[in-house]
Amino acid sequence: MSKPHYFDPLAGLVEKARRGDTFAARALVKAVTPSIWNLSWRLLHDAAEAEDVTQETLIRLWKILPSWKPGQARIQTWLHLVTTNLCFDRLRKSRRFVYGETLPEQSDPSPLPDAGLLQEVMQSRVDRALGGLPHRQRAAIILTHYDALPAREVGVILGISVEAVESLLARARRALRLALKDDKQEFFQPSVGGTAA
């Protein structure tokens, strides 16, 4: 059975970069860097580490280019896969709780002085809830929600079946709902009030 062929919008740049076209290589770097950076930053929550991962991923891209077969996979999927694996390696080695050091402790339950602070607190709570998820669940949520990838592609990146992705996402969503349970009411109140007014 022949392998499926995918449409890859970056295929032209990849082919030219493979032949040694420096301009195409530069354009390819500009096109893929933001998504690699976003994924690595969301997984690691550390700018220096995210930069290292982004650079390492691009170096691996150059290494794979000579043997890259166009049409068998999207280059973005491959880049997501490498980025995710590099981030997992770093998370395993450091064994750190990603968000714990930089974020404030549980917020004061008393009314908040302004919307900006409320938003800041909300951000830190969501970040902490995401950071509390196991690595693979967090990656599944990030790839599905923030990168808007379909389950099939997330499965390729994480090396699991579509059913396993769905199960991973269900567990992640359950854990997030649990972690953010108390915040939901608080979060929706000002927004609902604002819309009604």
Partner: protein, 99 residues
Amino acid sequence: MTQISSDPLASLLEQAGPVPTPPLARIEAAAMAAYKAQNLGRPLWPVRLAALAALVIVGFGGFIAFQSWQTSQSNQKAMQADADAFAEELITANLDPTY
């Protein structure tokens, strides 16, 4: 800014902290340095060998084609000369037309 989506969890996830701007210039410089280093280190002999082989094949084929054309030309000239000589012989032979 805040939207009320059909999925409250998705709305909550939208409230996550923003991703900082990537240091694009630094990343691009490092990536291009790695790309150029890899391209410089790439061996050129396969390309050169392939070009030489193509040149030899084209040259040999061209030589054979030229030789064949030249032979056919000289053969044609020889046949023409034979035909002319035979015609001349017939004219000068003073053959008896009643025979």
